[in-house]
């Protein structure tokens, strides 16, 4: 049974790249091109993992995350922030403790490393479930 990953990203090239990568490795991929879309899909589809960009039109990743954490399911949702922004005080301040949130800098993590992190995070989730 393949796991579903929600990719929230506005850069089309990167969407295509990560989509190819994830599908090649057997994940089902859903895409939101901004925070609004991402939040909607997340709350309706309950993906196993959300890959979240920060700087996006309409609604940025941090705002989306804040909304997500207010939801009963969203509170526990696994999120990897995948951004080219350095974690500023403002960003880090929005990340509530005990909520499974990770932070990766895109440019410093080539595709295969992103893939590894995803695997790790997903495995953690399974352990918790069991």
């Amino acid at each position: 049974m393949s796991q579903t990953i929600l990719l929230v990203e506005d850069d089309k090239v990167l969407v295509s790249m990560y989509q190819t990568l994830l599908q090649n490795h057997g994940y089902a991929v859903k895409i939101g091109y901004n925070g609004e879309e991402g939040l909607k899909i997340a709350l309706s589809d309950h993906p196993d993992l959300i890959l979240l960009d920060v700087r996006m039109p309409k609604m940025d990743g941090i705002t989306m995350l804040e909304h997500l954490r207010k939801d009963l399911w969203g509170e526990k949702a696994k999120v990897i922030i995948l951004s080219n922004l350095d974690p500023t005080d403002q960003i880090l301040g929005s990340i509530v403790e005990n909520h499974p949130t990770y932070y990766l800098i895109k440019s410093n993590n080539p595709p295969e490393q992103v893939l590894e992190q995803i695997k790790e995070v997903l495995e953690t989730k399974q352990e918790e479930k069991s």
Partner: protein, 874 residues
């Protein structure tokens, strides 16, 4: 004269006549000898006493001469400059070493103030902070009252509770003082005052004053002197401590003396009352006049009883007289009654003469020695039998010319007594000086038959006299030297004054802030720029501690503790020290960004103060910040397309988009490598700009050094393997260190990564050793090495050392960042050694867990995060 024929009336008559003659001659001879020995002994005592008086007079004159010299020196100091400031005065007086003259109580400078200048003088004295760091807010001229002119005590040395009482005292208000000062002014000479009550503590004393005239004004006539008079320097003496230590004990051993100034007793050497009231037969008294600063003192010297006794004990004259008379009588009786041998007389007489302490020689008319007494043999070293029958020439030292002897002989042959000093020679060849009385002995007809010479050894006295002449000459020489020194000092002062004006003009007008401190960090100088930059006024800050007056803050605007300030370091280590990127607090409490250099001022190997030059870097800061923001934003924008390029290419290479044509593999790898480098560059740029705005977060923890080193090396091994160079880890001490784990690894990665990059052959060795509070990790490679001229640039921003063009290019920021990180964690990174073509050794130091430095670093980082709260998550 042997025996006489047997008795007959004529014979008896003759015998009677002879015996009377003998008696007469005997008594005459006795009288003669008595007279000379008495004269001699008296002379001896007198000359001893004179010697004592000479010595006292000499010691006093010498001491007074010293005081005069001090006055001359001070006169020189004041004459040489327009106005003497306290700062010049007190070191000069201190170096004049008045401690060497224990009887000088104070040295002071008196300034002449006209009545119309009075208010101004008081006002400026009170406000002039240079007069005293504490100032004299209550300074006033006293005693009160309006006078046309005041002679005011302006400086006094040494400064103590008593002496400061005298500040402001008007010497003209006291007639005896005014008399002395006026005289000094009119004569341009040191002048002593009469006995006065001192202004400092009311005790009895006097002073010597020398006038100071204004530089360049004529002082030929009395009117000119009055017009040119600026003030006086005076040295003050207390009677109680006058002439301290002038003699090793409190007075010379055999005499006491008193010094009078008119009717006032200035000084008593010894227990004068006791000596004067004692009963003495032979008291010696002498009074001399001492000229002291245009006053005449009387020196009265009186001998102690012990002095006279030491001479009358040798009661030779009396013994000689009594002995001679007794002998003459005996002889008379002997001859008169029994006519026994006259040789008895000679025997007895000579016994008496033998007792004399002075040398006695009897010669015939040609100077052939006939008899000498034991004192003479003792003096000359000749035995009597070696002398009798010889000419007195045996003693001739050759020091006296023919003329001298001719004169001597002429005198005595004419029947007169010759008196004089002769240098003679002992048997062992050494010379001695004697005072001689040579008297002819005449027979009844007045014909000279013999000579009697009575001699006194005066070698010792002569030596002392010579010494006195010598020391007098030395004193004269030292006076000359002093005058020369003063001349030098004067010209030096003029040059100095000229230089000072020049320096001050430069200092006042330079754009950088300049603050000078003394050896304890008190501000002694602040220029206009510094006043303006810090919003301070010189008047308010001079004399205050620099560090307390002008607080300093670090980059995050936290106060810097005094011991960390460059000023403190410069004062303790004597090395120029910098404070870069710090803040001074302006008077309006805003913070002013500055860079400062503190240079210690060293004189004779002693740190006597510091000069700090600082610059306002507000503009630079603004530009820096703009640049950082720009870099930060652009880097983020650069990252996104880079991520795509890098990610896509690596996916293509990994076959995510299907098999790759072999021809494409290499170019794709090249693209990948270039994009990797581009990403590193952008990251480094971000690091630098982040560090500058203080965004970098440090989480300190304690961990085992060896473990972390191994972990780091595992990752780097792969890279080293690719270049076929070895990566060796020596034995690592088992210590816990304190650092931010990620940052520690980043620094290490950077240093070792660099070494790998620049090494083609051989290998890299990593060692570690404990040094005080740190562990020093050394990374030694066998690589290219760094040329001397490039070494200093190594840790700068964007300094790419261009060793070779074909070498892998770095971002040029690695070492700069590494060093900044290491420093933040309480350590450092530096180049320990580098030889071109042989290799380099870099050292990275980290604090040992729980060490002092570790604790301090921890506190600093905690304080920072408190000031700048941050919620970190996993």
């Amino acid at each position: 004269m042997n025996s006489y024929p047997s008795k007959s009336p004529l014979y008896n008559k003759i015998l009677g006549i002879i015996s009377f003659i003998v008696l007469f001659v005997g008594i005459a001879v006795t009288f003669f000898i008595w007279q000379y020995t008495r004269d001699n002994v008296r002379n001896n005592a007198e000359s001893n006493f004179t010697r004592e008086v000479n010595q006292i007079e000499y010691a006093l004159t010498k001491r007074i001469g010293m005081y005069k010299n001090i006055l001359f020196a001070l006169q020189g100091l004041f004459s040489a400059s327009e106005s003497v400031e306290r700062q010049e005065w007190s070191p000069f007086v201190r170096t004049a070493r008045i401690v060497d003259y224990p009887d000088i109580e104070y040295i002071s400078y008196i300034e002449i103030v006209k009545d119309d200048e009075k208010e101004e003088f008081i006002k400026s004295f009170r406000s002039d902070i240079r007069t005293s760091p504490a100032g004299y807010p209550n300074f006033a001229i006293y005693p009160e009252g309006k006078r046309s002119e005041y002679a005011v005590v302006k400086y006094i040395y040494p400064e103590n509770e008593e002496s400061l009482n005298a500040l402001g005292f008007d010497l003209y208000s006291s007639p005896p003082r005014k008399i002395a000062l006026d005289k000094a002014r009119d004569m341009n000479q040191p002048v002593a005052s009469e006995l006065i009550n001192l202004a400092t503590d009311g005790s009895s004393g006097f002073f010597m004053a020398a006038p100071i005239y204004e530089n360049g004004k004529p002082i030929n006539t009395a009117e000119e002197k009055i017009a040119a008079l600026k003030g006086f320097v005076i040295v003050t003496f207390k009677i109680s401590s006058l002439f301290t230590n002038i003699f090793p004990t409190d007075s010379p051993p055999e005499v006491v003396f008193t010094i009078y100034d008119q009717d006032d007793v200035l000084y008593k050497g010894g227990n004068v009352e006791d000596v004067k009231s004692s009963i003495q037969q032979n008291r010696y008294t002498e009074t001399r006049m001492l000229e002291v600063g245009q006053r005449t003192w009387l020196l009265e010297v009186v001998s102690k009883p012990s002095f006279a006794n030491s001479f009358s004990e040798r009661g030779v004259p009396t013994i000689a007289a009594i002995g001679g008379i007794v002998l003459s009588l005996m002889l008379f009786l002997i001859i008169y009654y029994s006519g026994k041998s006259v040789s008895h007389l000679i025997l007895l007489q000579s016994t008496a003469l033998k007792a004399a302490a002075n040398s006695v020689v009897i010669t015939d008319i040609k100077g052939i020695i006939q008899w000498v007494n034991p004192a003479f043999t003792k003096l000359t070293g000749y035995e009597p039998n070696e002398l009798v029958g010889k000419s007195t020439r045996i003693l001739n030292s050759g020091k006296q010319g023919k003329e001298f002897y001719r004169n001597l002989w002429n005198t005595i042959l004419a029947g007169k007594t010759w008196k004089g000093e002769i240098t003679n020679k002992r048997k062992d060849g050494t010379l001695y000086q004697e005072e001689q009385y040579i008297s002819p002995v005449t027979d009844k007809s007045g014909k000279v038959t013999n000579f009697i010479a009575i001699k006194q050894d005066i070698t010792q006295r002569k030596q002392i006299e010579e010494k006195i002449t010598l020391t007098n000459r030395e004193l004269e020489d030292s006076k000359k030297a002093m005058v020369n020194m003063l001349e030098d000092l004067n010209s030096e002062k003029t040059n100095l004054a000229r230089e000072k004006v020049k320096d001050e003009a430069i200092l006042a007008n330079i754009g950088d802030g300049l603050i000078g401190t003394d050896d304890v960090g008190k501000i002694i100088l602040i220029n206009h720029s510094a006043e303006a930059l810090l919003g301070l006024s010189a008047k308010k800050v001079i004399g205050k501690k620099f560090i307390d007056t002008i607080p300093m803050f670090d980059e995050s605007k936290a106060p810097i503790s005094p011991d960390k300030r460059a000023l403190t370091k410069a004062l303790t280590h004597g090395m120029p020290t910098h404070d870069s990127n710090k803040y001074y607090q302006h008077a309006d409490r805003t913070k002013l960004p500055i860079v400062a250099t503190v240079t210690p001022v060293i004189l004779n190997k002693k740190i006597i103060g510091t000069i700090e030059v600082f610059r306002d870097i507000t503009k630079e800061k603004e530009i820096d910040q703009l640049k950082d923001e720009f870099v930060s934003i652009t880097s983020h924008e650069l990252r996104t397309p880079l991520t795509a390029i890098d990610g896509l290419v690596s996916m293509i290479l990994d076959g995510e988009y299907g098999a790759v044509n072999d021809n494409l593999k290499q170019p794709l790898k090249d693209v990948n490598e270039s994009s990797d480098r581009l990403i590193r560059l952008v990251n480094n740029l971000l690091n630098v700009s982040r560090m500058q705005v203080g965004k970098e977060k440090y989480i300190l923890s304690e961990f085992l050094l060896s473990k972390k080193l191994k972990q780091t090396l595992e990752l780097l091994d792969v890279v080293a393997d690719k270049k076929k160079i070895s990566l060796k880890l020596a034995e690592i001490p088992d210590v816990q260190i304190q650092a931010d784990e990620d940052k520690f690894q980043e620094v290490l990665n950077n240093i070792i990564g660099n070494s790998i990059k620049f090494t083609d052959k051989g290998g890299i060795t990593i060692k570690a050793q404990v040094k005080d509070d740190h562990v020093e990790i050394s990374v030694t490679d066998s690589g290219l090495g760094i040329a001397k001229e490039d070494q200093s640039k190594l840790f700068g921003k964007f300094e790419q050392i261009s060793t070779r063009t074909d070498k892998p290019a770095g971002t040029g920021l690695g070492l700069y960042i590494s060093r900044a990180m290491a420093c933040k964690m309480g350590g450092d990174v530096w180049l320990a050694q580098s030889i071109p073509e042989k290799g380099s050794t870099f050292i990275f130091s980290v604090p040992i867990a729980k060490s002092k430095i570790a604790q301090r670093t921890k506190k600093e980082i905690e304080n920072e995060s408190k000031a700048n709260p941050d919620h970190k998550s996993n």
